[in-house]
Symmetry: C2
């Protein structure tokens, strides 16, 4: 039976992770290791300067006093007797589209899994209505089984690549299908920081509140969910811009040194 | 005169950022906006759940009660009258090689700048000896001028791309040159989490302490600095694995729904 690690960034008591864990029990043996508290926008942060604690809760569920990345490390190196066959992070309350892949704690848990060599999926659900997580949980189980089946057939995910899933806020019967997508691009159109004054007359600032415009790429994750499709984007953790290397290497950088000349350049 | 925003993740009082700010005064008008405290491994985290404060310090220097990403937002949206022409983040004490681009607060400040449309550089110095930051600071000034010169010549950095620089721990005269590199890949070979017992007999855990092996790609950032070269890697913030889309889209994902059929697939 496949071993499946489940984590998130909304915290272990979030309804999204509990719906996910329940649905994945049809696919394998589920271990939940998640932050004790909400860690949204924690990104790929690591806790380096203080110790971490493990709190055992429901059977097979462990809360960690750290970030999503910490949870995956603790699960793989301390909690699970053998490494998981699959990691699924989510279900996040709210989308993780476009540049969100670099901020999202949900995606970061899947990044950490990927860096540790574990096939990993991040799943997020748009949340405009007062929805449940049934559509996302059902899709997560289907996709998890699909990934495991492809691994068994000798067709694993590409190296250093995770799947970032976004599910529209629709009941399953109204979902129009699944699309493999690219990372959408948004432009902020107003200030992203709000200035206020505290009760003692001192200024403070709060991040957020900006209007967002998405570029209209029809292949993007944003376009897919807007049209009622589930978006599945392959996220590559090699961030090298290979296409730019040749042109950039023509730049003259006049930095003098007396080291021996570069044999690969001379 | 070019407006240059300087940030980091080691905090505004770190010697690395002060050396960087001093060196960049030869290139443009420098504004420093940096965390009031060390934020290493903060990654691309955003502060969403509490307010931020601005503390004015030395002339042209502002400390923020938040992450590197917060600092760039505050600088661009609150502190600077006009957006900067260039952002330089660093000089980090210690390398940011390979997968570190996804954890590093230093790189994240440059990511945030890039997402806001500002040409951005992250610079880190390896630190094995009790070094100063002279080599890195001198290179940062040279590269900053090079980027600005190329922009003026109609040859800007590629869209959504920042430069991640790593400088060996060597005096400038011993540097062997500059190499444009790819993101190195490391493999951890031992546990990354250390278990301890606290004075009350309860277990706690600490992240870190693992042995690291690098894969031997000679074009990588790690290979460059090991050989005595300054590494400059173009980091692309579109993480879509374009090369995998075609093969993955052949996967059958048996998720049924009654939405209208996908016109792009039928």
């Amino acid at each position: 039976m496949a071993r499946i690690l489940v984590s998130n960034d909304d915290g272990i008591d979030a309804p999204g992770i509990q719906a996910l864990a329940a649905a994945l029990k049809a696919v394998g043996e589920v271990t939940v290791v998640a932050p004790e508290r909400e860690q949204s926008a924690a990104s790929h942060a690591l806790t380096l300067h203080k110790p971490l604690r493990i709190y055992e809760g429901r059977p097979g569920q462990y809360a960690i006093s750290g970030t999503p990345t910490d949870c995956v490390n603790m699960a793989v190196h301390q909690i699970m007797a053998e490494p998981p066959d699959l990691l699924v992070s989510g279900i996040n309350r709210g989308a993780n589209l476009g540049d969100d892949v670099t901020y999202s704690g949900t995606v970061s848990a899947a990044m950490e899994g990927t860096l540790l060599g574990i096939p990993s999926i991040a799943i997020s659900q748009l949340f405009w209505q007062d929805s449940d997580y049934q559509t996302s949980a059902a899709f997560a189980a289907t996709l998890a089984q699909t990934v495991l089946d492809n691994i068994a057939a000798g067709n694993p995910l590409p190296v250093d690549t995770l799947l970032n899933v976004n599910v529209p806020d629709l009941p399953q019967r109204l979902i129009r299908g699944t699309r493999w997508t690219t990372q959408g691009k948004r432009r902020f159109t107003k200030d992203q920081v709000i200035e206020q004054v505290d009760p003692r007359g001192r200024k403070y600032y709060w991040v957020g509140g900006s209007a967002v415009l998405w570029e209209g790429d029809p292949k993007s994750d944003h376009a897919a969910v807007t049209a009622g499709y589930i978006s599945v984007m392959p996220v590559h953790l090699d961030l090298t811009h290979y296409g730019a290397l040749e042109a950039l290497s023509q730049w003259q950088i006049p930095f003098s040194s007396d080291g021996e000349p570069d044999p690969e350049r001379s």
